[in-house]
Symmetry: C2
Subunit: 775 residues, 2 copies
Amino acid sequence: MSLQVVKAFEPLRSVTAGLWKYRPRSLKPNTTNCISCLFNFANKARFSVTHVTADPIGNCHREPVAPSFTSAEGAAKTDWGTKKNKRKVRLRLTDIMSNPEIEAKLAPLRAAVLEQGNLVRELKVKGAPEIDLKRAVAELKSRKKLLEDRELELTPSVVTFDRSKMEDLLKRRFFYDQSFAIYGGITGQYDFGPMGCALKSNILSLWRQFFVLEEQMLEVDCSILTPEPVLKSSGHVDRFADLMVKDVKTGECFRLDHLIKNALEKLSKDKAATAELKAECEDIVIKLDGMNKQEMSDVLSKYNIKSPLTANDLTEPIEFNLMFATQIGPTGLVKGFLRPETAQGIFVNFKRLLEFNQGKLPFAVAQIGNSFRNEISPRSGLIRVREFTMAEIEHFCDPTLKNHAKFQSIAETRLTLYSACNQMDGKSAQQITIGDAVKNSLVANETLGYYMTRIHQFLLMIGIKAECLRFRQHMNNEMAHYACDCWDAECLTSYGWVECVGCADRSAYDLGQHSQATGIRLVAEKRLPDPKTVEVCEIVPNKQTLGKTFKKDAKSITEALAALSLSAVNEVEQTLKDKKEFLLSLDNGSEFKLTPDTISVKHSTKTVHVEEITPSVIEPSFGIGRIMYALLEQNFQCREGDEQRCYFTLPSVVAPLKCSILPLSNNVEFNPFIRQLSTALTKAELSHKVDDSSGSIGRRYARTDEIAIPFGITIDFDTLKEPHTVTLRDRDSLKQVRLGINEVIDVLKDLSIGKLKWHQVMEKYPVFEQQEATK
Amino acid sequence: MSLQVVKAFEPLRSVTAGLWKYRPRSLKPNTTNCISCLFNFANKARFSVTHVTADPIGNCHREPVAPSFTSAEGAAKTDWGTKKNKRKVRLRLTDIMSNPEIEAKLAPLRAAVLEQGNLVRELKVKGAPEIDLKRAVAELKSRKKLLEDRELELTPSVVTFDRSKMEDLLKRRFFYDQSFAIYGGITGQYDFGPMGCALKSNILSLWRQFFVLEEQMLEVDCSILTPEPVLKSSGHVDRFADLMVKDVKTGECFRLDHLIKNALEKLSKDKAATAELKAECEDIVIKLDGMNKQEMSDVLSKYNIKSPLTANDLTEPIEFNLMFATQIGPTGLVKGFLRPETAQGIFVNFKRLLEFNQGKLPFAVAQIGNSFRNEISPRSGLIRVREFTMAEIEHFCDPTLKNHAKFQSIAETRLTLYSACNQMDGKSAQQITIGDAVKNSLVANETLGYYMTRIHQFLLMIGIKAECLRFRQHMNNEMAHYACDCWDAECLTSYGWVECVGCADRSAYDLGQHSQATGIRLVAEKRLPDPKTVEVCEIVPNKQTLGKTFKKDAKSITEALAALSLSAVNEVEQTLKDKKEFLLSLDNGSEFKLTPDTISVKHSTKTVHVEEITPSVIEPSFGIGRIMYALLEQNFQCREGDEQRCYFTLPSVVAPLKCSILPLSNNVEFNPFIRQLSTALTKAELSHKVDDSSGSIGRRYARTDEIAIPFGITIDFDTLKEPHTVTLRDRDSLKQVRLGINEVIDVLKDLSIGKLKWHQVMEKYPVFEQQEATK
């Protein structure tokens, strides 16, 4: 079977010579790994795989693969597909708890997760060694994965989805495609064509309206190039790295954890493998997630793992920082990085922003912009890329006051929450109102809950399906180093549940780090309920004797003394008392002996009305590319009975173009009406497309459906008669109505912002049937 | 005099210790250069200079300078300014040709330019050596500069502008400020705060509406990280560089042309300088613009030029490429750059875009995005930065058909054009309708003229003043390597005329370059007026004998023959005829002897209906940061009689916030009305700010004026009475009207999109006088 696949690829090699470097390295059936390998390979060689089936327990049986190859210049196209060759991936409902039959099948898997979850809890309570804990967590994750995969398989499918068909459409109508393809392309970088760009810009403009405008956030736009010290403070210079190894001869790079996993799985599946070896390999794979560099390096040598492509030796593991480095300015001395997230730009501007907000907490700052991560092996289309647009919010609030003024207005919203606890207990996600979730401390505080709800509302508004959206809480061990609670909004796609929006409580981590590095206090003042009396202890220099003793150094000594912290002052006082002198060292290295006649320590009290606090930060962080991908996938449809007529059911609020204008034929009498409508639509700020090409009206409608245009105006011979009328067609229902040419613009305006629904239009205007029949 | 300045700087040194490195290096009066030097220095040390005066002939006399220093953290602030210390920079009208008195003063300067312009023309006609031509052009430029400076000085001033005051406001209300300031900052990088970001996003959204929507352009969004080969083709790898030298000890970098110019000017102004030396120096400075690396290096050694800061030796000149370099992917083998312009992303996608447009020309593609240039010494605030947002349009058209369908609709628009010819003749810019300009071939074609007019309309719409806007044509010698005609939209600022939008005819340069590099034909098909018969000449292999002779190589031979160009086929035919054999070399190095029995050459004719053309590209390219700067400067005002109350007269369409809501006092009865209005404004998508802080209403209005809020609603005690009314205030006229709380939203909606003008509001509603009096 696998040979057939390899054979099917063979002819491509000559066609794509120079465009791809890799041969599929493991094409044995019965591993999910080989499927991903196949897609990686296909991705690299830039053709799409149109047939892989999976049986219900997840083993894959490949039948002769029919890749449709699109050559680099996008012109030559070899379509080897046949009608039967389709890879089916199912999207499912998340609420399957109610079906007892399915539950019976899942019960043992749930029990296995619970058992392991309890073990992890127990180890934590006992304070077990970290390595044991890591191992237990890795096993827990693997059991969770098994449960989740099975859950997805057993859920009644609601959508049949053919990824390759969608990808073909996205390429063909240039929603997006690989960047620099005429130069051979770069993996992990995509260019958005007219439709993708319009979709993206509509999503961002709605985002601005929904978050920045409605919540009166402060939007900022900060630099991408970031000097090293900033990212040193944030932890990215030290921690934002993946381990990799290189082929010593070719320089080919491999992500180390992926490499070991693949190598050991291969090894343990070898017929010659003993039961002992198999167990050993499986054990390592489970532990892999928690291993450090040395441990992984030991595995490499123990099993003598070589490059899977060339069998050459591999280098020692290298920590590869995922940030793109560059030099700022001509000297070559200022090291900088392309920012890996937009958040830091907000944190370093905290003082200016607090001042702009007249010193008051809470306030939220938003930023939309590009970030960059130099992935070792980018994959999965828009999901893991090197350059991506984020929309981030940093909500600064008093750490002791995380309630939210508008929480009550959304408290009744039901969300699908998959808590850390449920994950450890082998339970499913649950539907619950956010009010109850906060009341039960399932979600830590109102502000976090408020943002989760707003994220939920936003995603549904732009077209994400409620049944394909859940919030998954990070388990303790997967939380980023800065976070103290984190919920990911995950969208279900053919790649599984994909994190599209993170919603984290970053506590005071970032402001604290930047304060520490710069010495600038990034704090807010909080009015005390009652004024407080505090003891003040300061060093008073005796100006006269100090000046006499130290001459021109007296000034810097005075300054240094004024800058001492409270504890340092106490130390000075003690030392003076004990030894009758104190040795002061300045930054420039000079030292001065101070005695009780040059300085004294004065104690006093003062009344303070405010205290300084470092605000907590709640951060909703949107990955725009991932949201777009999930949106496109969840809205991809084919017409019943005609699988070649595909379209996107994107809501009109985000659809790239709002309307098409199609004359029934190229009769010149239609032209004034085309111009009149186009001008009126432009004036109403409604993006549209005139298609007066020669195809049949049905074919032209199909073309507008492909680019998700929700409504179409047809100009026909009745339009020429007075009163002038046109037909208006709805993409999703295929229904048409007839209405006056002067009315249609207002109707479209309301439809496009969602103020009017199509069924209301159907109620108001006479249905028109003729035209679809003539296609 | 100069000593006073230096002295005024001295105390700063200790305040800013560590923040600036440079001492002003040339502070002699009587050079405009020392002013720019002063500002560079001030810019580096991050304080603003508040007093420099210039006498009418351009010599500068500095009086004690009063810098106001803002420390890195934006907290400590030392304002040394007094009311009298103000630097005045005048914005002027461009049409001064009519004033005979002024013209008389300018006449000798105009004559000098004309004389030199004619010399340049003559040299071109004669085909004079390039070095002579360069020298003449440099002299022409210098005479032009003299004329232009004088023109500006003599124009009656219309605005008094105090740059430091504006910069102080921009910082204080965080329109924008230096990035990473808490880490010491990076020159040439700016973060936009809430008001700057909103202004920018409003400008971009209007741009989209005005260009993309109205002209039905295809908008794309391409990658920033660009692999080297792409930028090799575009010419950026080889040509996008400035020459610099480094201080051998400190590593400090200097732009070579600036360095030589400063050094020689200093030398020639030395009292000991002979007349001969002076002439020599002036001669070199004039020639500098056209010198190559070696020539400049020779100047360095001849005059023994050292580092102006340390007097250390300098390195040989280094070509410093202005692109930021990085590595894409983990191997370190794929070199990439941050794009220096967005245009290339469009060119490499040309085929996809043409296909999206169903193969038809003309069509225009737009892109908004960030670009990066690693300037050796960034300066002048937002005008020369390292990271900037561009909005570019590439209009692809048939090179023989550069007319524009909508040209007639704008033909009567009057633009201020400063043609290359007028520049060479010492004449001023002229006002002319674009229709006439194209008719007279002053502007090359309708498409170029159409875009220039649209740029003009757009800039006026967002608030650029007509009298401070001109289009300057590039002279032959300053045109980029790719352009065949180019007009810059220049805005007048206190830095002089600043290029804000370029509008170039790039001809077929870029598509040609990328075609050549990739072998992929970036062409469009053009229907021939009549079908054409063309001769076809192809090699026909004799399959049987070829197969017999070359066995398995026969296939690659056949392929190689099929790929031969027409001229190569002719060569094969001739060689076969002459020598009875032809030696075919394949790419892999193998050679095959072909004889007349294995191949023959067949001649035939075929009828073709289309021809392939490489489209021409017209490129309007907007520098958003520069436009924003010019806009802010041209709209900066102080209230008559109260110079401390500054504001921006930004039109409501671009104003960061559209409206303020101010309760007269913090009476709780006002609160429901605040909430009602805020909710209604949000629903109407009108950005706004509630200021219920305790300041007087007048002081709060002044604060909203500072951030350019055009309209303000006041809630007062009359609001509490039925029917509920509020007052609406206009920022620019300070007038107020009283109207119903239910009417105000619709009025604001129309005001904010410019559909309604303030004077119309004044006509409709009763004027309200009381409140401003109570401030």
